[in-house]
Symmetry: D4
Subunit: 256 residues, 8 copies
């Protein structure tokens, strides 16, 4: 809450246009909503960022997810449940038939907005075929935020010409999400070839000394290329969200 709002409320109090209890309430209460003790929905975030709080399905019971979606769907046109298993999604869908389940991304999506007129600018690349689920989570997220997303899959560095051939397209993007497991080398190569920000997503794809994605994560953190930042292993959502944000900010020419 910025100073001018504060001053306005105080002026209202001073001028008697608002009573004391209401003023206390306005200053005290923040716009969130409690769901039966186990969750607090952050409508505030939605107001501020133009995007609702996403529900991380992992670690929640189906009942909990269901109740949270219930609340969110009443106030928002766009809801995203990530890391939700098919069986759980099916149960939630029974109450919300308008939601769509994307099995590869393990994502359940409510989107009442129109996909038309979304600006281009977000590119999602994968090194291999097995990285696609994480990439799809990223792409779905950015799309739901209002971006048009281009996907190019299986262009890992061990067959460099596959990437180089698509370079003109990649270079057009305002932000590039690069998803890779195993050696995690693709973001370094892409980062050296484009001038846009690169959001690198290590995946747990691999075996042995990949240590569940640790190898790819370290590779990306140590990238020699400039303009590369990294999110958590398998965190397609985080990468898609950040990429969507960067693209929309550039499109909308955000003023200070």
């Amino acid at each position: 809450m910025e100073e001018r709002n504060l001053r306005q409320i105080l002026q209202d109090v001073q001028q008697g246009t608002i009573n004391l209890d209401d003023a206390v309430e306005q200053l005290k209460t923040l716009p969130y909503e409690e769901v039966e003790g186990f969750a607090r929905l952050d409508h505030h975030r939605s107001i501020r960022t133009g995007f609702p709080e996403v529900v991380l399905g992992q670690g929640k019971t189906v009942e909990q997810i269901d109740r949270i979606v219930e609340k969110l769907a009443q106030r928002s046109d766009r809801v995203l449940v990530t890391r939700i298993l098919p069986e759980a999604a099916e149960i939630v869908q029974a109450h919300h038939p308008e939601m769509v389940y994307h099995p590869a991304a393990r994502a359940l999506v409510l989107d009442r907005t129109s996909p038309e007129n979304r600006p281009e600018g977000v590119m999602v690349l994968t090194a291999g075929t097995a990285d696609i689920p994480v990439a799809e989570e990223a792409a779905l997220t950015a799309e739901l935020m209002g971006n048009r997303v281009q996907r190019i899959f299986d262009v890992g560095v061990a067959g460099l010409h596959r990437l180089l051939d698509r370079l003109p397209d990649v270079r057009k993007a305002r932000v590039v999400v690069v998803v890779a497991g195993m050696d995690g080398a693709l973001p370094s190569v892409v980062g050296g070839l484009v001038s846009a920000p690169v959001i690198a997503v290590p995946t747990s794809v691999g075996y042995g000394a990949s240590f569940g994605g640790l190898a790819a994560l370290l590779t990306m953190l140590n990238s020699c290329a400039t303009g590369v930042a990294v999110v958590n292993i398998d965190n397609g959502f985080g990468a898609g969200y950040l990429a969507g944000l960067i693209n929309l900010q550039a499109v909308n020419n955000k003023s200070l």
Copy 2:
């Protein structure tokens, strides 16, 4: 090289307006320059990104740095040498008196451009006083790219009101660099309070179970806040570069 350039060169060959050797040369050569066998300067990057290849001082001899700066200073108005010790900087400065050394950031800077009219939008925060050197490296980098940078230091989460008091300023930024060692918790809090992208920089500040910055790095990678990405431990340059890029892209409303 995109298809239309290729087509143009081939048309020139077809029409005889360029001879064969020149065409081969154009297709074969890439615009970099070799410095006595130990380094290859990437002017290509400068042309493409509007920013020269930065010199990572660490791991290079003073002589090597000196020779590389020599070459770069001939072609570029802006050169940044990072992680260079005062003694080495002094030697290089003897040949390049116009360069300025920033001891806190361990950075040597050549900047023949005017600092006026640089757009605002980049905010750099630190959790503690000891994080300032890394933050300064980030700020210097973004400034050298052509941004105006606002710094707010020592606003760690253990004294939350210090951050909340500056929140209006922080919320105005187009991109926020958050530098923190020890528990590395600041980016999560900032990420929940702003809607701009947050570039989190873990530092090696701390002791014991901070394990040289590993604790802060893991905290940031696992941030519950959205819109947060992470760079390497102590990588102020990388964060400043990415933040500068995001800000400039938004300012310039980059078209595809």
Copy 3:
């Protein structure tokens, strides 16, 4: 055994008010009880601390748990079995119908005492919904020790206003248990806002670089806030026990 007890026994021997064998026995035997070779019950602890040895269910067979509970229930009004699966709990309950199973906390509880008149002072917070099971284990433990426990769930730092709104309540506590997975940042923020001791509990909630709770653990160990100590990952019992102890000590104004 303190010196005065020793002296008393010796005086009894000297004065012939106790025979030799009994004296030897008193000095030699410690008040524990063996359960068929696989466990030794520590009634001594119960006498000393006013709380029975808790049974860690994990790693024990159902038969072993059953036999241990059998012995404990004969001598104590309060028994806590932690980390016990529903199937195992059901078998034990068949023999001890007065026991109650708490599925979220995976805890089986015998409590013949009255919950009335328990002093307030213990607060249990969680960062997210998925941290609730560990928090419940902590709360149940402190309650069984004779504390009244207040729970506030899902107040993680990425939506800071959720916590700030409940701050007056949190500040009233004599000790605060803070349960958080993923980035584990909540204890640092709470530690900076309250003056009571904070017991931080990292959870294994998260994925990727959370490495089973390691990230949250390191964050908490490196907390910049004062008055914070940490227990093992997912160790709700340990945190609840320590918090209960601190609260009861303050309530009872323990003399030296």
Copy 4:
């Protein structure tokens, strides 16, 4: 800031007993002080907790420490600078002759209060001789907070009788700080022998597979004893602070 304060200010505004600008200022400003851009002093914490913000010397320049001490010494009777080297302490002492340097603890202390009438209740143990510096940091901290501290050093588990002999004293404490490197086993043994809370401090004392204190840290986190919590490796300050807090709370019989 709690609701009743808020309500009071608003009533003052309503009743015209405070003008608008002052009200804004009171609501906006938080009681900290900025030191030339590199540090923010948290007098608020001092007011709330009765103890000033401690200065972590490590990572700060002597000049920075000196300026911060300057500010703190004007408002507080008790200042603690931790992890400060003798040379730096000497420079600061030149401006603050009343400060005392404790070389073993690497601590610089200003204490204008009287050490008399401080309540007993804090016990500090070490496993070995090399753990003493960390233990002294803990003891000094608790003393500066207003506790009387008893020290028993070199009672590691490999010579158990050394501990058992002092057990009556140890059992009298309201809280026990246990400092141990190498195998870090002492807190488990102490935790099983006393009913008071145990704050375990792993130290970096050891070699080889102690991995800078990691071994002792893990031992303590996995302690089988109840009532044990852990702070960072070598964090004597943190342990002393928490122990002091617990003891004072019990002494003062803190009401809710």
Copy 5:
């Protein structure tokens, strides 16, 4: 093969008492036996050490175990299969009805020798009930080698009196195997109380920061007590073998 054997064979060749092919064979062949390409049985070890090669069940198919046991049972009176699941053991037992399966230790044992007259001297302790399976593997191994083994279980350091009460027995042993998970502190305490060698066995019992036994392993490696050595996590067999060896050597007063 020692020099005198070599010299003897050569003398036999010189004197013609052995023909050339036989000599080559004697020098070339080592007494092992191949089992259909997938295993090589080391009867040599049996001859040298008086104990047959043990079969590590883990990682082998039931068929492979069965064939190996087949071969070993023809030449040896004592065969030990470790880490074999009940289903696999059942199949092997069908062909070798004289073998006994010990479910706690997951061990399948053939022992045609008499358990009488085995010398005492090996003591096996556990910290908790959940460590018993590993301890049983150790005890069975030492028994099969010809030792009498005494077991004392559940005497962890958090209830020190349980151990102290059994100290006279423990001190009689020639070698003590100490099995502990979680904090792994028991070997340090035992090592300080006895003068016999202590073989410490970390177990994977625990959760969270026990990291599958790593915490206990590090504790034991860093033990402050003298006379302690460590084997792999859960390696009851290795500890039992070494303890058995040490005891038999002392009993037999091995000459050089």
Copy 6:
């Protein structure tokens, strides 16, 4: 693409023997093939190396594997699918009856070439029986590349004579693949006994502090023997490929 090819195409353009569009196409297109968006087949590699891109089965759906094999089998006589489970292999075999599944190696192989006249020179050793699956993957790979492979299994260093007895055979090889889990010591010993390159393959065979093969991996990387290089844990394919390459190069006396 080397300069002379480039020059040839340009000459063709100059001389009009090729039209512009075809030239653009030749320069632009690289010989790979896209499979419905999820994979890009690298026939280029096959042309260059004489061996087709291998399909890593892990992380791909059965449908994806099936489609990729479909494409590859049309252009290549030799296809290798690694890390494919029996159920998946069965489905693919239904469409490609000529493929053979090797259960131990989890490999599905298409080989229309003749196994005759393949040169010897590749030796594959294992330390234990449980390492055989990885060794078989290595051997199959080298065979499919056109090598004859000799296997010697279960010759670990704890029974050194088993290896020494087969030393003459091992010394004849041009390259030795050494597969070992647990302590991973075999490559060091073999590397000291042979003069050929040794490709060391750590396996995840073991338990406890083997940490999924990490112990064996580190052992091999730190080998004191010369001529040893290491591949990923359980990466039989990688080792077999490299060994096959080295052997074929030596056989074919590759000219520069």
Copy 7:
């Protein structure tokens, strides 16, 4: 203290042959001695084990070491200070001219006993030349305990014949200490060749992925050979002590 001693004291009390205060003292006091608050000397251990408490020099000030040696030298004929730097040793030697400093082992030794008639049986091997300091610490320790020690250095597995040539000697030992850094493979090979217990000592010799001895440590813990146990990295003292104990026990045919 065993039961019969306890009974004897009580009988003395009963019969009045000892007064009450003396009995209390005997039961209460344990035979250690405090050195000015920073150390507790364990003469008890000396009485029990026939060997004095060794002084770990690392982490102690020269003054502390000096005072401890002062006390120990008054009561014991044999004192060992380990990990003491030459400068510190020189200072201590000034007060104790009879002490001898062994620079390779960094050990300061007082030995007033005769080295004659010490039994053979302890063998110390090293893999390389750089491992000798740790091996010397082990050998010195065992010698000071009263053993004769044979040393064979630089017999690492990469040149196996160096070990095999000395095998007859190695096989004669009652216990073998094997010291190795880098790949740490020597204990596995030795363990397979001898039937005596093997005490493996990993050293920090190496670079890169040796991670300060971690690689060698893990190798040894995962040894496939039987009869091998491991001590901490660079812990020559611990290995020498254990080896000396095992040998003396076998020599003395310890009765139960």
Copy 8:
């Protein structure tokens, strides 16, 4: 020693052409030489491999290095001392003026052979300038073995065109050593572009999450490219040796 040699010696004994003691000696002695107890020189290796045992300077005293070089220089024309500091090298050179010190590679070399007529085929690449020392160690090693080595430095993946431009040269090599720190991505890219074996060398160049080369090491072990194997961090010698071996084997068309 192979069977035919054994048979020959036995025939000589049988026929009396060799006396018994000489035969024993031949069978017993292996051709190494002991240097005053601290090292065993392996001339056997030299005979077998055509290359002398290299001296690892690290961890040895100057005196030890000097004595070892003394012995080696008498029997071999080529000696390589690695990881030797300039000061130590100077002392050794005083006794061996014909030796040459290479400061970048920290290598001291004796080479009395002619560098002419050495076959080409070994290529050494580095990702950055700071990787050159390790690359030089590799190149020197391969050269000393009798190879001609081509070096191309500073062609890291962040500026891909630098590598692509030199691709024709790189593709001509029989074996490629790729040296890279930080993200360690270069070997994956090179491995995908060439058909020759790639020996990847991670370096400790980097900071933060490079963890002393661990990041680059893991990247390389997880390389998606085929034909890549890895050596220890900074192990230029090991890579150069293996590359030299592979090249010479291919040149010499080694027969079985």
